[in-house]
Symmetry: D2
Subunit: 390 residues, 4 copies
């Protein structure tokens, strides 16, 4: 670790910066930097990547937008009560959390009447001021805000010119996640969408990213049940076992659970969750899938999956699994991984969609491979290909 | 299906030919040939392999050794009562089972006083007579007999000359599985060990195989809990999640359960079962593992695994799975797959150990990759490389 | 077993006589009578009841109504393929099934335009002709038909006179289950409702039963997940452990699954299923509950329940269970138990609701105790109180 | 709660006073008294008992013996890190823990060479001094020390005179748990054995208790897997479902896990655990049962049970459950319950074994009922019968 100021800095601008995932990411990086915890859960720490290519943990500076004004430290204390952040660690990183909290600006709220053009300008300016203040070479914007309801198709989504025209007329054709993505691209920042919201997944947005020569990655982080599915489904497929049904029930509390209790918003999530099985095992698999809001579970999630399959001679067999995970603890290190990888891709001169990062996502961009092993192999190849072009 | 005699035939000689796995394999192939069932569970049916390279199902002819004299058909009826073979299928394949049964010879029984040299000669002769009788180009010998207790090391295992000298003196240095392997190699047959017994896994036996220019594959088929472990463990490894303990309990009935109720024999099995986790996740993982004999479960096996792991900031999480499988229905199609692949390898001129087949085994030969995805990739590459040299 | 005709006979008239539960009940009684199986699963075989009070298995004669015309034997063969009835047993009881099948009459179908008064008259006549034909002292009518959608309240439900007036006007105020119950009472027969349908649970129907001096029992047989809940919930309650959530997912195939895939019909079922927990553990328990139709599961049902609770100092703990049962095999012996008990109650001179039988039901009549142990104690007391008044 | 000093005090003398269960009990009572937590998990708070009969929580004073010298507060902090005691609660009760810690005396250690007679005298004196110091009317001694290995039978166990003679000769015929029980009885104190050790379960000890006119209760608290078994087994029994096997695996860390990793000590525990099933379901049930030491689980225990059973027509079905509990949080409130109940029994003039308390124990004394419901009913009757004779 350098004993002077780090030679260069990478800004990580979190949309939903006071949420559980963001708070855990900021706290975790602070804890690792302070030597209070090791880097368990962080994929980039063991990737085959040349020295100096990925920004070091001590080069990352966090800021972000949020519509909540609960201070990071207070949220971190709630997470400590819920068993997500060890209380002993919290004492050692309180200053870091306060420093990050001071860099959080008010997010976009549709109900405030701020028009889309004005909003994009303001959000872009916030990020630029952050970059200047912390002296960051480049900034990765990462969406970890609540899941949005699906968006109605609009002709303005087809290309950037149409979109800009529609926005200039004040038409409400973009959800917040896409406004943030457009703000990022306008400011020359790369973008990661860790949620199932639309974000950059519109032709017009893709065009914006490529014009700005910035890369983006997404969508919908794969942290629990879907991660296990991606590991298990290829086993059935390669063994020629015929999966007849794959049923899942997810119990979760916390803010995420409350959001997903809304049937409209949950539909975005459910779609991402069944796609993987369809792609690996075909469309005939019956897939009942539920997400239930169980407030007493706090930030913890329990998923139960039941897989009914047939073997030789049509013999019926079953497998079940239960996953009991802490979503923030699973998602937070991936946020850091993605910020490092996308920043390095940006530095390497890549732009547009990065399907090479499918290992991290439920709904990968483009035609990424669907089994976890191949996704990881592709990630390793990608990491090895990154160069340090600064 | 050809309306005349198939142009060439491959003999499959089963050690333990009247056991549950062998019976299910013979019944299953008959059922598929008769159009009563499809090839679910058979990996070779979907491999990228050139036409004509793998022997067709209609080219396979079964025979074997066994120490039991319960007819195949009677055992198949018991399996039907246990839900392994559909009763309706059984009616259509009774003649096939009887025909195979007529080709089964008395196996080797240490307690009969038959010396090793005489035994090898007799076993070799049995196989040769079978090959002649059914007009088989080549024969694959497949061990699906009961698991043996581990074997004491002996200097005679080191090379073929020492081994032959020891056998000539009548010394009891080889377990039955290795006698069968030596008989196979002596007769120019390839060999597959689907059990955790020693079989061909001795330097002297490897030398015998290479001298005879025949290939062999093993050991210990991966059909249930260990298969799932091989699919899941890499997920934890690549995600940098620290697995602290991986506990397993296996409940099984049937003949396999009774055999494994013997603490000596079970030790061979338990060793194969923990090795995979050690190789993927390191030696610090606490791995309590039990195999319990529960007679009422018949040919079915239930495994429960509990995995305790840590994520970011040391947060403790858990995963559990239950696998409820029918061992014979899972193992039988793999027997057929392996017979086809090893016969084709033999035909392609390969000899010695085939670590390319690690996808099928708990304890693969040599330094095979340990994650299921890579093992499958290697299998596909191997299949694509096979040529039809006849 | 008597070697002559039994001295007296009890008719069991099944509504849904060609369904899976009815078929299994008829087959099971035939198998026990033929000495092919023992009475496992039959509660009445171990109750403390005086000799001769309960009708013997050889005194029961089955008949019934159904809207399907698939013969019993054919349905039994399908159940054999699904593992519910052993194929070997089926061969020994085919004649019994055919004899029962010959006693099945066409059921009531609202879409046929048969008015309620005519329907009741016809159904009553069918049952009376059955009783005469088989020379039965008395008949118990048992509803095992598909679950109906909930019924709209109507003033005509309040008393028998209003109901009869409404029916005479041809008003459609009763669902089929209640028409059957009224037909039973009109014919002097007792009634058991094993389904969550309304059946006899209306004041006017209760009045009809009491006027006819016949007893009735219900509702909604407790055979799987709810049975386990009734056994477990009191454990949490008496230990003062605070259950915060009790989530359940039920996967089932078969005809029952298809019926319950209809959101209206499933609502009757879900209501019965959550009531028990509310009564034992209070209304604050969060209870997400799903019933999913998974066709490949056939007549089998898998339920997963997840219970989150707090102990001393508010420590959060969890319990999960999976129940993998065959609904027909669980329900069928209870049908026989209930027929015997209600017939004996009728013989003992009881009439109206029998809350003493709450041990069998999800939604017991009146203010029955809610824990399984007390329900069983009440059943034993009831059985001991029965006398043989004939 | 009284606003003056409580009118009378009951001493609770814990054998193993610095262990996890004792620490949690002391901490929990302090937390409830301080209004920081409610009485969740405490059975006595909801029993039908006359006012004033049970000692109030504010009347209890804790002390005890232990061979460890780690202060209670330090152990409580470790338990807070393990999620057993909320960190926020700990801050409010530190003084209470220190005060109790000051009342803990050095326990009996066989390896110290203290003879049995001297040891009993010293232990008795320690307790008497405690009673005097805290001004307690009476003292209940509660054994929550580590499980001992089973004890060899000795003729001296048969009656008190023989035992005293043997002890006077310095013969080593009693394990520590029985020495403590004898010390309790000698000092006129009642005794509770919450462990599977022998404790008071010897004829000579029973005689000592009756002569001293003090009651005692035991053995082996039922807190997790066995509790669930006692709730579920009667369900199978009363439904006439034939349980063929009931397999269990227990994973636990903590001190208890380390102790039970010793095969001799675990044998005491395993015996208690299988007895209940035998008594409810008969001796034919196959019961593989494992206790595995998994250090990373800390004070948490996960049990998986698999129950294979047959229903009507011999159809095979299965149930599984997983119990994830915190042993100390489950046991601690029962310690308090038992202390209150046994103190009240003592006050009511009862002496000798108290089989009425079987609801709390795996291996109840005498011929207690085996199903949890009946055990609870008996406890309620017992509580209602207690009078306030002071």
């Amino acid at each position: 670790m350098p004993d002077a100021l780090p030679p260069r800095r990478v800004g990580v601008w979190l949309i939903g910066a006071r949420g559980s995932v963001a708070t855990t990411a900021v706290a975790g990086v602070a804890a690792v930097r302070a030597g209070l915890r090791d880097s368990t859960g962080m994929v980039t720490e063991q990737l085959p990547v040349a020295a100096g290519v990925l920004p070091g943990l001590d080069e990352l500076v966090f800021g972000g937008h949020d519509v909540s004004d609960t201070p990071l430290l207070k949220h971190a204390e709630e997470l400590a009560d819920d068993g997500v952040i060890p209380a002993s660690v919290l004492r050692g990183i309180a200053d870091d959390l306060d420093a990050t909290d001071a860099r959080i600006r008010v997010g976009f709220r549709p109900e405030d009447g701020e028009g889309p053009v004005a909003a994009i300008a303001r959000l872009t300016r916030d990020i630029a001021e952050f970059a200047a203040a912390v002296d960051a070479d480049r900034v990765v914007v990462v969406n970890v805000a609540s899941t949005e309801a699906p968006v109605t198709d609009d002709p303005a989504h087809a290309d950037l010119a149409s979109l800009q025209a529609a926005l200039a007329e004040g038409r409400d054709v973009l959800p917040p996640s896409s406004l943030y993505a457009l703000a990022a691209f306008s400011g020359g920042c790369s973008f990661v969408d860790f949620t199932p919201s639309v974000g950059p997944r519109l032709p017009a947005l893709d065009e914006a990213a490529r014009r700005a020569a910035v890369p983006y990655a997404g969508s919908d982080g794969k942290t629990g049940e879907t991660l296990v599915k991606a590991a298990l489904a290829p086993m059935f497929a390669t063994r020629a076992l015929r999966v007849r049904s794959w049923a899942g029930t997810n119990l979760l509390g916390g803010g995420d659970g409350a959001t997903l209790a809304d049937p409209e918003r949950v539909s975005s999530k459910l779609r991402s969750k069944v796609e993987g099985i369809e792609r690996v095992l075909g469309g005939d698999v019956v897939q009942p899938l539920h997400i239930d809001y169980v407030p007493d579970m706090g930030g913890w999630k329990t998923a139960w999956d039941h897989i009914a399959f047939e073997g030789f001679l049509g013999v019926k067999m079953r497998m079940q699994f239960t996953w009991e995970g802490c979503d923030s603890a699973l998602a937070a290190p991936l946020i850091v991984d993605l910020a490092r990888l996308v920043a390095a891709a940006h530095r390497s001169g890549m732009s547009g969609a990065l399907p090479e990062l499918s290992y991290f996502f439920k709904a990968p961009l483009d035609d990424a491979p669907v089994d976890l092993g191949s996704q990881y192999q592709r990630l390793c190849d990608f990491a090895a290909s990154l160069s340090d072009d600064t």
